[in-house]
Point group: C2
Chain length 489, copies 2
């Protein structure tokens, strides 16, 4: 049973763009929002992984950047568990690697309580939690209270040369909780060669650095201070930002100061330098979901070594990964191939090139392909919208509005809209009129009219929206009133 | 310049299902309707190949089966050239290979004129026509008038082991027209081994049997008669069907009789048996479009041997074919691979398996996948419709209606329809009312109402149709009046 640890805070790092997961991930739908390994997205799973040990969602801070903030909040507030609606957010003005992100979170938590113990977790990894995980958190929190910087070390299962390893030294006396035994971290080794990685797997004293840290907020800043130079400057800048009233933390001088700090990883800036680092070895099932190969890592292959998801058939393929989100995919006699098929883009590559998907993303970005940025289904706090067709002067969307929800009261300067209710019942506001629009009826919103659609029913409202106008961009929304206080642009 | 040959008839064989072209081809959108090699479909190109030598489209008979008849006629009447609207059709009750198809066409033409000379052409091949082609037709028609059964023999360009070859014997004296010289056909060789095929390429006397025949209608039936047995029975049956009034030719006893004849190829039934067969050797660029490899045969590869069509990027692939109809396709480091990506289905296979695509189609048919049968865009004589989304109790279509055209006056028993005009202007009939519906306005057709939409304008009319109902099948159409006399079901 997980035990709540009084005052425990969590910091979930969610600034990653996950380019190597295109076309499943997009710039505005990064890897942490994907749910290819279960019913939950990676970030929802990360929050749920630490939630039982905290005093609820408000003890959890999600650190992300300004670009992703809306998408992340829309995503988490769309989750059924209300605790996920209560998490707090820190928006970095831009991505500056993990040390500045963690330092900014530490400084912010230290304003209220310098002794606050924070668990830092990536938002886009997989971890099989269970009893041992709870023991790890309990043991880590206890030694972190004594000033240790604690990492969870994953027992390696293969000679992976792309990971960092931590060598465990002596155990810390009296610190064990169940099977979780904190040890002194004796050495950090980044990306060993294959021979060494093989030794590490069999040796039993090296563990994967999974980017999970438990430490007192003040200790993070102390370590940076004592390093001096550009690392101490990180601590100065984040303390300065955290000292501002929350509404001012994104003001221009704060942004400029943050942009000026060094983009250093927490491993280099703190863990590899400090002499008070502990590691808790743990044989947990873990993946950093570093490439499309993770689709295979977490699945059960068929007798020919294929892993398949989505509609389709295969004739005689071997060792291949076929992942389809919507459409039918057929494969015939392919070997060691990855096929990822999404509503608007398909990617085909040999497994051995899985690390190079960013080359494709770079090429697509250079040609201005919208498929790099925009996902086909856009989650919103009230439900979602999906673009079905864009033509010259018109666009068709499917709106899905959750029971009791409503998008903002808004108007458009360049388009009118036709709404046809195909499931549920809508309540439509159009200027001064409020009317019920039942199944199989329609409403017309003339250009410029102040309008809103609302689902007061108990089942999902589905509406086909046909937009007609000379400009159909998502930025032609003037919000007059919004349940989620979104940008009033 | 092509010369019209008085009284010349053409028979275009269009019963093929083209399974090896899935997912580009579908059961209801077979290979002959595809236009992947240019602006015209293969069948439109086939008709245009022979049209200049005839007295117009009405001298051309398209032989197909009942299943494909509507699709073929919709397709040809949707072409801009009005001559293609005038072609005649023979519907076989079911596919019975080429000998019965050609015999049925011969018997039908022989009713009016037993001496009629007919050019038989496949509807789904590629042929680079030009001056030599015209000479071939003229020379072939002249010797056919003397009772020869004439084939056009394509000069082989590679040692293809999948084709049939014809060995040319002595030239027929005085029969040459330009460079087209009819020879006695000395031998037919089906699918030689590789060594022999190589000899044939260099030997200069063997030619590919391209399935193009020129012969007197009566001679086809004579040859069958003289063979006796099941071949003579073919002639009897098709003569019996042709003797019926046209409207009766599909009556039950005719269908049963046709179903009872032997499914034999014209090569086996006639050409390989007759002693009066001529071949005209011709170095024409030809392809039977036998597999997806034809996508490569007819294109210019890049420096790494890749052939690509549609939006997308490639990083470092070699010798591959990437064909996309709509969506973005990215490839990274693949070799000798074929990727075919269509709106609703994707196929990936190595080039060496191109002949085995039917295995995929068989597997999909066994699982009842609609992608085997139904194309995403359905051509109609008045334009086309595309299914954008099917949900529970609703379906969304894009209708495109050509200037001056209108779908049938109809009603539905199970659905109502919302029409929103997104381009052009519609005239909508709904029971007793006829109203103009301009751009950005909509109309509602209640369940059971007699209705029609019409484009009286001069530009394309585009309409978003949202259907709502408990049953949304294409067969819920009761046609009251139709410009194309389609099934009044």
């Amino acid at each position: 049973m997980p035990r709540s640890i009084p005052g425990l805070k969590a910091v979930v790092l969610a600034g990653g763009s996950g380019q190597r997961f295109w076309p499943l991930s997009r710039e505005l739908n990064p890897k942490q929002l994907l749910s290819m390994f279960g019913t939950e997205s990676l970030i929802a799973a990360a929050v749920h992984r630490i939630l039982p040990f905290t005093d609820g969602g408000s003890a959890i801070t999600v650190v992300t950047n300004e670009r992703l903030f809306d998408e992340l909040r829309n995503h988490l507030t769309a989750q059924p568990d209300p605790e996920l609606h209560r998490v707090r957010y820190i928006q970095e003005p831009l991505a500056r690697n993990t040390a500045p992100a963690i330092a900014l979170a530490a400084a912010t938590l230290a304003v209220d309580d310098p002794d606050a113990i924070m668990v830092v977790l990536p938002s886009d990894h997989l971890l099989e939690d269970g009893g041992l995980w709870a023991d790890c958190i309990a043991a880590a929190a206890a030694v972190a209270a004594d000033g240790w910087l604690v990492t969870i070390g994953i027992e390696p299962t293969r000679p992976e040369t792309g990971y960092g390893y931590i060598r465990a030294g002596e155990p810390l006396p009296g610190s064990a909780v169940g099977l979780a035994v904190p040890h002194v971290a004796a050495e950090f080794v980044e990306k060993p060669d294959h021979a060494r990685a093989e030794e590490y797997v069999s040796g039993g004293v090296h563990f994967w650095n999974a980017g999970i840290f438990v430490m007192k907020a003040a200790r993070v800043l102390e370590e940076l201070d004592s390093a001096g130079g550009e690392l101490a400057h990180i601590a100065d800048v984040v303390r300065g930002i955290a000292a501002l009233p929350p509404a001012d933390r994104n003001r221009e001088d704060a942004r400029v100061a943050f942009a000026g700090i060094a983009p250093v990883s927490v491993d280099v800036a703190i863990m590899e330098r400090s002499d008070r680092v502990a590691v808790i070895p743990a044989p947990l099932k873990w993946s950093d979901v570093g490439s499309l190969l993770a689709l295979e890592e977490m699945a059960d292959p068929d007798s020919a070594g294929n892993v398949r998801s989505g509609r389709g058939v295969d004739i005689g393929s071997r060792g291949s990964i076929v992942y389809s989100t919507d459409r039918l995919v057929a494969t015939l006699g392919v070997e060691d191939l990855i096929v990822v098929d999404t509503t608007d883009a398909t990617l085909v590559l040999p497994k051995e090139r899985a690390q190079d998907v960013r080359l494709v993303v770079d090429a697509l970005r250079a040609m201005g392909a919208p498929e790099v940025t925009q996902p086909k289904v856009s989650l919103r706090p009230w439900g979602s919208w999906t673009s079905l067709l864009k033509g010259l002067g018109y666009q068709i969307k499917l709106l899905e509005i959750k029971p009791g929800s409503k998008p903002s009261l808004q108007r458009h300067e360049h388009r009118s809209e036709h709404w046809i209710v195909v499931a549920g019942k809508a309540v439509v506001t159009c200027d001064d009129r409020v009317t019920e629009v039942p199944l199989n009826e329609s409403a017309f919103i003339p250009l410029g009219a102040v309008h809103r659609i609302e689902n007061r029913g108990e089942s999902l409202l589905q509406v086909i929206e046909v937009q007609v106008g000379d400009y159909l961009g998502e930025d032609d929304i003037i919000r007059i009133e919004d349940d989620w206080d979104r940008d009033s642009r």
